[in-house]
């Protein structure tokens, strides 16, 4: 079947460069297969993460020809024959080695989101239509591609002020859970800086689970923030109702 040509970033926290590899192609290969073949036959110390090889675990995130994608779900036959394919680690996070980045910041952010807390006396009977909205958010495989592509983090490095799309999705799954008792609006506005998102939707474009991150999670959450902080009539109304 001929050869495929990959240009893979090799390096560590101190820096690195792109290195070229040529690999014998097989039918139906995905980019991750090629990386594995490089490991097996050329550079056994080439670092990359993967687990499921079926787009279910969100480990193999990388930037292929500049686009944030899962390596295991990117088929080689998408590319033109003879094309040189660049594979880079995610740019937004500090590099560990080669294609593996340090994504621990994400786990820190997650810890700050108060967990699911059921309302008192919850009756665990509710309709599928109600579940649908929350289930969309729970499809997230934590590939962090949305975090990688979001310019607030990628270009403006607002890690300390902004939680990123993944965690708006997470917060939405809790806030919109019919049996959840907490209100995380203040956290969203203050510490998680939802106002920094300018709804430019790059997160939605890269999400391998096709979650409508911006339309279904971020914007509805922004509207909830408006309710609480920016809508004078609403605030007045809530005062009158004593909420």
């Amino acid at each position: 079947m001929g050869k495929v040509h990959l240009r893979v970033y090799r390096g560590n926290s101190e820096g690195g460069q792109l290195r070229d590899y040529e690999v014998e192609a097989e039918e139906g290969m995905v980019v991750l297969d090629v990386i594995h073949k490089i490991q097996a036959t050329q550079s056994s110390d080439l670092a990359c993460r993967w687990n499921c090889k079926a787009g279910k675990c969100g480990s193999c995130s990388a930037e292929i020809n500049g686009k944030p994608r899962l390596m295991c779900m990117t088929r080689m036959n998408e590319f033109k024959e003879g094309e040189v394919i660049t594979v880079m680690p995610m740019k937004t996070f500090p590099l560990m080695k080669d294609l593996a980045t340090d994504v621990s910041w994400n786990y820190e952010v997650n810890k700050k989101i108060p967990p699911f807390t059921p309302v008192e006396g919850a009756v665990w009977q509710w309709e599928q239509e109600d579940a649908d909205r929350v289930q969309e958010f729970r499809k997230c495989i934590e590939c962090f591609l949305c975090q990688d592509t979001c310019h607030v983090l990628r270009d403006h490095d607002k890690m300390t002020k902004f939680a990123g799309p993944r965690f708006f999705v997470r917060t939405a799954s809790l806030e919109m859970h019919p049996l959840d008792a907490l209100d995380r609006t203040e956290l969203l506005k203050q510490e998680h800086g939802i106002g920094l998102c300018n709804i430019t939707k790059c997160c939605t474009e890269v999400c391998p689970e096709s979650i409508h991150i911006t339309d279904n999670a971020i914007i509805p959450l922004k509207e909830r923030v408006v309710d609480k902080y920016y809508d004078p009539l609403r605030i007045l109304w809530n005062k009158i109702l004593g909420k």
């Binding site: 660049t86 309709e127 607030v152 709804i199 430019t200 914007i219 509207e223 408006v226 920016y230 809508d231």
Partner: protein, 288 residues
Amino acid sequence: MATDVRTQKGLGVTLRKDPWWLEPLFYQCLFGGFTVYATWAALNPYGPNGQHYYEWGPYLSPMFSPFFNPAWLHKLPALLATPALLVLWAPAGFRGTCYYYRKAYYRSVFLDPPGCAVGEPCAKYEGETKFFIFQNIHRYFFYVALIFIFILSWDAVLALMWPINGIGPDNGSAEGPKQFGIGVGTLVMALNAYLLGGYTLGCHAFRHLVGGGLDFLRVKKNHPVRFILWRFVTKLNERHMQWALVSMLWVGFTDFYIRMCAMGVWHDFHISLFPFLNSIGHVFGGSN
């Protein structure tokens, strides 16, 4: 390492190979073009002989509806003395703060970012927390836009009322009774109202207000009507971008169509409808 591709930043830095710049360029042209046309049209309500370019017979351009022409307007500098001034703030404010348009112009005008995974000028960035915090007013513009759907629909209804005495020299309907008729312009205006409805009712703020703001269970169990509404709005919302763009272009086209008729460049086809109804039409438009 200065040439490390990984750490490079700045406008346009990317390893993407596809023509990502096409998208911002397209929207720059589209929005730029529309803004130029809309401004020009708004500032040119009258022809050289004072004839109206914003109406033709029963047709009224959406850029001038609801039509007010108070005396004080004409005390303003000539350039600004257009009835459109009293109207356009509303749709402009509505669209300007619409979540979809925000996305589109942040990307194509402010290049923040110019494309996904494409570098941008690393100037100070505050998102919608400082200057752009005013975007949160969007729902109030929505309330106004809701009224506009009714006004523009009513305009389309009025566009069925043809003056029996024909069209006056100022392009308005001549005095006298009316009869039912339908013209291409009527359809254009009706479609305009429809598209605007689809766009407005698919608004994110509306989606939130009808039901999205509730934690669902209560919607289904306690608010069956709001649940159905939410579903309806959600359906429209899924295509909000398409509605936004098409309705915008159609507003422009509606104005253009009426203007062309008023300028005598295009000929509007219309026919009389239900002659037996004319007596009602007579009563209806009789006072005019």
